[in-house]
Point group: C2
Chain length 312, copies 2
């Protein structure tokens, strides 16, 4: 498919390792280390970082310091700090600490929604409308982004019908989401499916469709990023070191590695502002900070090709 | 880019593990094991297999049994046995044993050509013309395919100018190659470059451009396969278990795994005739036969997604 947007448009990479990565790792990383991690991402040129999640600390104690991380992120000029928010209470916490963006998860799979959030997708849509009203009443400019998970299939339910994805997309836009992304939470997507679903979704959401979130569970992460980029997506989630993973696929690698996407776009001549080598240095630090946890990704093995090093 | 060919066209996967894979592994696998390997590939539905190379046994002792493997391959109905041939003497050996296809390597990089074949690219083109004359004089129907290596860049030379790739493409077609493929020998390619180079090459070679050969050195193997498929390529090289690799990039993974490509195309609904699970079983055997050698690829980690298992 020819891209509906200029190929030279910059691409924004949002690193979600401090949230999507750490939520699937049992250990608690000290806040001081997380601050270093945040600063290293920023120094590498990443300008949007998901720093944590406002879920009850008893569920995810490893993310209990989210407010402190938002505070640290707000000190870095030009950085957008986003937080995951599962409900109204979390949204209030996000507004209270001054997060610049909230990620509201919505599962397109009914079964996944019940298992993960204990609500049907339509109940979540109703929550989103309430969160929009709360945000507006507060006078905050915090962006509301809905991340539509399991949009390409679900480990519990199996196939997720495309008309249901499109129905929910319309519903969240009607409920007041500022923007929405499609997520392949469990690594089921293939690049043709990605082309197709994003093309359909652009018809409905236009510029409010603003994120692709892919996992590399089965090795198609980068192919799916490329297909979404061809469809016009100019913003992607990733995790440095490819951490993340999926509790339903043991041994499987996680989110697409941020450094791998930075390499892909740099190879293609698409500006991201992100430095691959700086992310590789951070990845090296993660192997110490997360000692024993598997890291993933690909560009770390051989490094940049000579042709790119010479161009630099 | 819209594909110039119907998306439903079948795709042919040629497994080259017995040649490209084993030539970069020092150990010699016994011929009896290689026969089992060949038969397992065939049983998985692979219908074109590169079984070895007619290079001097002192250079690659691990491929010295190539003629015996061609003989074994010829017993399998409908299987095309191809062999790599570096010169006229090798071509005679290929004709003598009844191989159905010869792969003639030609480096688009002058420096790589000298290092690898001790000849300039144009000297290799002259050899190809002689091999064509030999083939025609013999009355054989053995297909002559030129594999243009380092078409996307070279570890020794760096960038390989596109006009030089196109000039050599015209030259090998004029010299009598029946078909030609473009190879990213060292894993430098990105999917936009792949789109671009294959689109250009189709203009020159038409249907005689008949193979994409990618390495997954930097994690873009599948994205590059997808981009080449979009450009119209319907035949790809791969190695089961992702063996192969490149002596110039230590630690880097090798050829795109045949099972990963079979998964990609199955996900997209493109027929290949190849069974992913049967290749995964063979991969498991390789971990015994090649005990200690690193295997690569991705689909082995999590297996087929539930949506595909249910569709089967």
């Amino acid at each position: 498919m020819p891209s509906p947007r200029p190929a030279a448009d910059p691409v924004q990479l949002r690193d979600v390792s401090l949230r999507d990565g750490l939520q699937s790792i049992a250990r608690t990383v000290p806040t001081s280390i997380k601050r270093e991690w945040l600063q290293a991402l920023y120094a590498a040129g990443v300008r949007e970082i998901e720093v944590g999640s406002f879920v009850p600390a008893r569920l995810l104690p490893q993310l209990a310091d989210t407010a402190a991380l938002v505070e640290a992120a707000r000190e870095l000029p030009g950085l957008v700090a986003s937080v995951l928010v599962p409900n109204l209470k979390g949204a209030q916490a996000a507004l209270d600490c001054g997060a610049q963006a909230m990620l509201l998860p919505l599962s397109a799979s009914h079964a996944h929604s019940l298992a993960n959030l204990r609500k049907t997708p339509d109940e979540v849509v109703a929550d989103i409308a309430r969160i929009r009203a709360l945000r507006d009443a507060s006078g905050s400019r915090c962006l509301l982004e809905v991340g539509m998970s399991t949009a390409f299939g679900c480990t519990i339910q199996g196939a997720v019908p495309e008309p249901e994805v499109m129905r929910l997309l319309r519903a969240v836009l009607d409920a007041g989401a500022d923007r929405v992304g499609l997520a392949d939470t469990v690594g089921f997507a293939d690049p043709l499916q990605v082309s197709h679903l994003f093309n359909q979704a652009f018809e409905i959401a236009g510029d409010r469709l603003a994120c692709g979130h892919f996992h590399d569970t089965r090795g198609l992460g980068q192919a799916n990023v490329f297909a979404a980029w061809q469809a016009g997506v100019r913003r992607f989630d990733g995790c440095v070191g490819g951490i993340g993973g999926c509790p339903h696929a043991p041994g499987a690698s996680g989110n697409v590695a941020t450094e791998d996407m930075a390499y892909l776009f740099r190879s293609m001549g698409v500006p991201t502002g992100v430095d691959v080598d700086a992310l590789l240095a951070l990845r090296q630090q993660l192997s110490t900070w997360l000692d024993g946890e598997p890291l993933h990704g690909a560009i770390w093995r051989a490094g940049l090709p000579r042709t790119l090093k010479e161009a630099a």
